[in-house]
Amino acid sequence: MIQLSVFAADATMDIVKQVRENIKIAVETFSSGKSDVDFSKKIEKMIVADLKVAAVFLVNESDISPKYDSPIPVLQYRNTNTQLLLRVQSIVSGGKYGILADLYDLEHNRKLLAKKYSVSSEERYPFLTHKLTADIAKKLEIEDLGWMEKFVIFAKNTSAKASEIVIGDYSLTFTQTIISGSLSLFPKWRDETQREFFYTEIGDKPTLYRANLYTGKKEKVTTSDGMLVCSDVSRDGNKLLLTMAPDDQPDIYVYDLESKKLTRVTDYKGIDVNGNFVDDDDTIVFVSDRLGGPNIFSKKVNEKAVQQMVFKGRNNNFCTSFKNYIAYVSRDTNNEFSDNAFNIYLISTQTDYIRQLTTTGKNLFPRFSPSGDSMLYIKRFKNESALGIIRLGYNKSFLFPLKTGKLQAIDW
């Protein structure tokens, strides 16, 4: 994990209303016996990483206490201004891998949390500490870190005309390939339950599929000549924003899953792609080259008028939205013959302020977390690619390299 500091907070950043920072927490981890010492070390590393990614804590790994249930050395911790103590014991028993966790408020001498978690396979252990961290954040009323315990889904190119669709935890410590053997791209969750997702298979003709992660069942949604991408899904999970090209012309359509009705939204002769629902799903923001180069526009689904949203940058080629916020990718250099910088910017539809979220390298495919306080993105550097997370209220970002392949598209 690589941590990068971005830059100072600004007064217009009100995605997170109240930000608490620098809560000093000590973490003690224990194994339950000799047989799970290695497992305990993995747990220790992961819980410390999770608390750092939460961005509100100053984390101190401690070995003061000899055992999980030994008395708490409160005075020792208070001397170092430590506010919280988290004790975690790993357990390997009966084919399950788990942890016991207690969170103590050292200032007020009380136990805040007592939890037990388990998973059925060791490779899924990251979810133990991810869930623990999300529960700690909920208990402390910090913010919603529910995204930590969920899957990310991504496509990665493995070679020419070949890819895999993979699920994993946000740190990519756990990954599982769920689709392979074809050129399958642009996975998109249907909703927050993460039971179903959409993806495009590029065979003889691009085809959009809807698949169930738990039953393995997949069904064809629609096909198109040329190209077909599901860019966004409405909040009720029933309408899809598709980029498709039935007349060799890339345009944006709304597809209703229940009525199977397809409605064309754009009809410009150039490139219109990457639609995202905003404002109760009756308006979209999208990328279009109708003014000479790719830029961000908006329009109501059922009206013709188009409004330009971004007035800075010559090449703004990707956008995503959360309530009144739009994040977009801008190519900040224009060099055909060397590395170009692609950076992510954040704007509000209510103000004129633009906030730059990344500063160097190739930063692509931003996605807001379901609660809007964090952003997932793809970072490419040299021959590698990494999953990035920006904690928007704290101006901190983290990178998690992909071991093999090149990230093509992501969602969470």
Binding site: N157, A160, K161, S163, L183, L185, F186, I202, D204, K205, P206, D225, G226, M227, V229, S231, T243, A245, D248, Q249, P250, G270, I271, D272, V273, N274, V287, G293, P294, N315, N317, F318, V329, R331, E336, F337, S338, D339, N340, F342, L364, F365, R380, K382, N383, Q408, A409
Partner: protein
Amino acid sequence: MKKSLFYLLTIVALVMTGCGAKSDAMDPTAGEKTEQQADTAVPEQAADTQEPVAEEGAVATAEEESVAEETAKETGVEEMAVYFDFDKFNIRGDMAAVVQEVADKLKAGHAGATVKLEGNCDEWGTDEYNYALGLKRAKSVKDTLVQYGVAETNLKLISYGESNPVCTEKNDACWAKNRRVEFKINP
């Protein structure tokens, strides 16, 4: 007279069987032998000696060579590509002749075939836009082929965005090679 007719028929038969038999063989030296034998053979003596067989065979082999040459032209379109400038989908001036050549080859050798035009991009930018850019590149080539007389109904488009690179080096030469449209016949 009857004998002459017999010999003539024999010659014809030998020519036809010679064609059938030799079309299965791909002797790379056949052309050389053929040239030498063609200079020395005397047609009216062909029925009585081995020489006429060689002579008739020489004609057949020469025909096979021209057939082989046409086969090379058929695969040529699939080995060709139209290249594009950075972030552009219009046909460059230096690529117009390439598109013309593709059109000529398709009309000459694949008049009824389905041809898939595959649009591709370099690795810059987010892939959804690149898929559209690849598609627009394929469409530009298609429109130009149609202008040059290729039947529109035979041309299908597909984009692979960044997912089908021919090289992965981080340099301008490789990026330029990836910004292309390729052709697949009867895929």
